[in-house]
C-alpha cells in the first residue's frame, strides 16, 4: 500500500518536472541589473518547497552562507553572504530570480554559486557536468520563498 502510493507520488513528481522543465539555462534573459523578469517555468513557485531547498545541504543550501531568522529552527547559519532577513522587501521578484539564477550578473565576482547556469566552473565533476545546481522549478520555488521574507 505504502509502496503503491510512493510510486504514485514519484510518478506525479516526474510528470510535474517534465511539464515544468522550463527555460533552458542558456536561454534565460537578464535585464541590465541582472534581474530575470520572466518565470523560468510559468508555474507559480511554492514557498514551502522553496524553504526546503533553502536549507537542504544537497540542494540550495542557501543557509550555508546566509543568516535567515525564518529558518531559526536550523542550527547553523552561515556568514559569508548578506543576511536574508527582509530580503523580500529589499528586492523584487525579478531581482531575486536573477540573483538565484546567476548572481554574477548582479554582483560581478560574487562568491555565490550560480544555481541555474549552463556553463559550470572548470573541472566540474562528471556527475554534475552540464547540470544546473537547481532545476527551473526549484529556482521558482526558492524565489517564491525569498519573497515571503519581509521586513518586520
Amino acid at each position: 500500500m505504502l509502496l503503491r502510493s510512493l510510486v504514485a507520488v514519484t510518478a506525479a513528481l516526474i510528470s510535474t518536472s517534465a511539464l515544468a522543465e522550463g527555460t533552458a539555462p542558456d536561454a534565460v534573459a537578464f535585464g541590465e541589473d541582472g534581474q530575470v523578469m520572466a518565470s523560468l517555468t510559468n508555474v507559480a513557485g511554492d514557498p514551502a518547497a522553496g524553504k526546503k531547498y533553502f536549507t537542504n545541504r544537497k540542494l540550495g543550501n542557501c543557509l550555508a552562507c546566509h543568516v535567515n531568522d525564518d529558518a531559526s529552527e536550523q542550527s547553523f547559519h552561515g556568514e559569508v553572504g548578506p543576511e536574508l532577513n527582509g530580503a523580500g522587501s529589499r528586492w523584487d521578484e525579478a531581482q531575486l530570480r536573477g540573483l538565484v539564477v546567476n548572481s554574477k550578473k548582479t554582483f560581478e565576482d560574487s562568491i555565490m554559486p550560480s544555481f541555474y547556469r549552463a556553463k559550470n566552473g572548470a573541472r566540474t565533476m562528471e556527475k554534475f557536468a552540464g547540470k544546473t545546481i537547481l532545476s527551473a522549478q526549484q529556482v521558482e520555488d526558492v524565489v517564491a520563498y525569498l519573497i515571503t521574507l519581509k521586513e518586520e
Binding site: E79, V80, I111
Partner: protein
Amino acid sequence: MKKFTKTLTCVIAASAFATVAVADEDAKLIINDELKIETNVAASADSPLDELFSGWVFRSNETQLMQMDDFDNPSFIFVEQAEEQFAKVDGTEGKACATCHEDVASFKGLRTVLPRHNASTGKLDTMATLINDCRTDRMGAEPWKFSKGKMTSMKALISLQSRGMPMNVAVDGGAAEAFEKGKELYYTRVGQLDMSCANCHEDNYGNMIRADHLSQGQTNGFPTYRLKNAKLNSIQGRFKGCMKNIRATPYKEGSDEFTALELYVASRGNGLIVESPSVRN
C-alpha cells in the same frame, strides 16, 4: 586583528543560531605547558593577507585544548607508529630509516622549507617525495602511497621535529615557476559551485560557512588529525577534499598542480609557526 574582531562581534550578534563554540580570541597555544606557539603573526609586505592566523584560532575551545597536550592529541598514536617504522628494516638493502638517519631529530627544520626546488630533478621535493626517494633508491623498498597511513604518520614524525619553528619556503629561483602556477590555481574558480581557494580562505576567513568556521587555509599544522575522519590528513589530501566539496574533479596527490599549489599556499603562511601534528575539526 581588526577583521577577526569584527567577525567575532558578528558571531555574537548571531548567537541565537550559532551554537558552535567560537574560538576565544585571546586563547594562547601552549603545548605541554612549555612550548609557546604564536598563532597570529604579521604578514610580509607582499602578502595578500593583512595578518596570518593559524587554523587553530578558528577552532572550538575543545578542539584547541586537544592540541595543547601531546597525551590528548590523537596524532601521537600515529607518531608512535612512525617511530617504530623508522627503526624497522625494510626493502632489499637491509636498511631502516634509522640506518642512515640515526636520530630523527636531525630532520629539525626540514618541514619549514618544503616544498623545495630540487636543482638536479628540476622539480619540487615534498616530504612525501623525499620519503619515497629514500625508500626506493636507498632502501630498495616499495614506495608508499601518498596520504596512506604509513606515509602520513612518517610525515607527522618528521614534521614534529620542526614544531615551534617558522615556515620559510623559498619561492624564487627554481621555485618561481611553480609558485606562479600555484598562485594561478589558487585564484581559479572551479567546480559546479564555481569557487576558488581565495573566495573562502582569503575573502571570508573568520566567517561561518554553515557549521564550519572558515580558516585562512594555512599549512603550518599538517599533517593534521581531523575529528571528522579520525585520522591524520595530508595537505594535498585536504586540497582534494576542498575540490570535491565544490564539486570539482580533484587533481591527483603528488601531481605537479597540487605540488605547486602546496608551495604557493605554504608561502602564504611563511612566518607562521609549525604546529605539526595539529588537531582540527
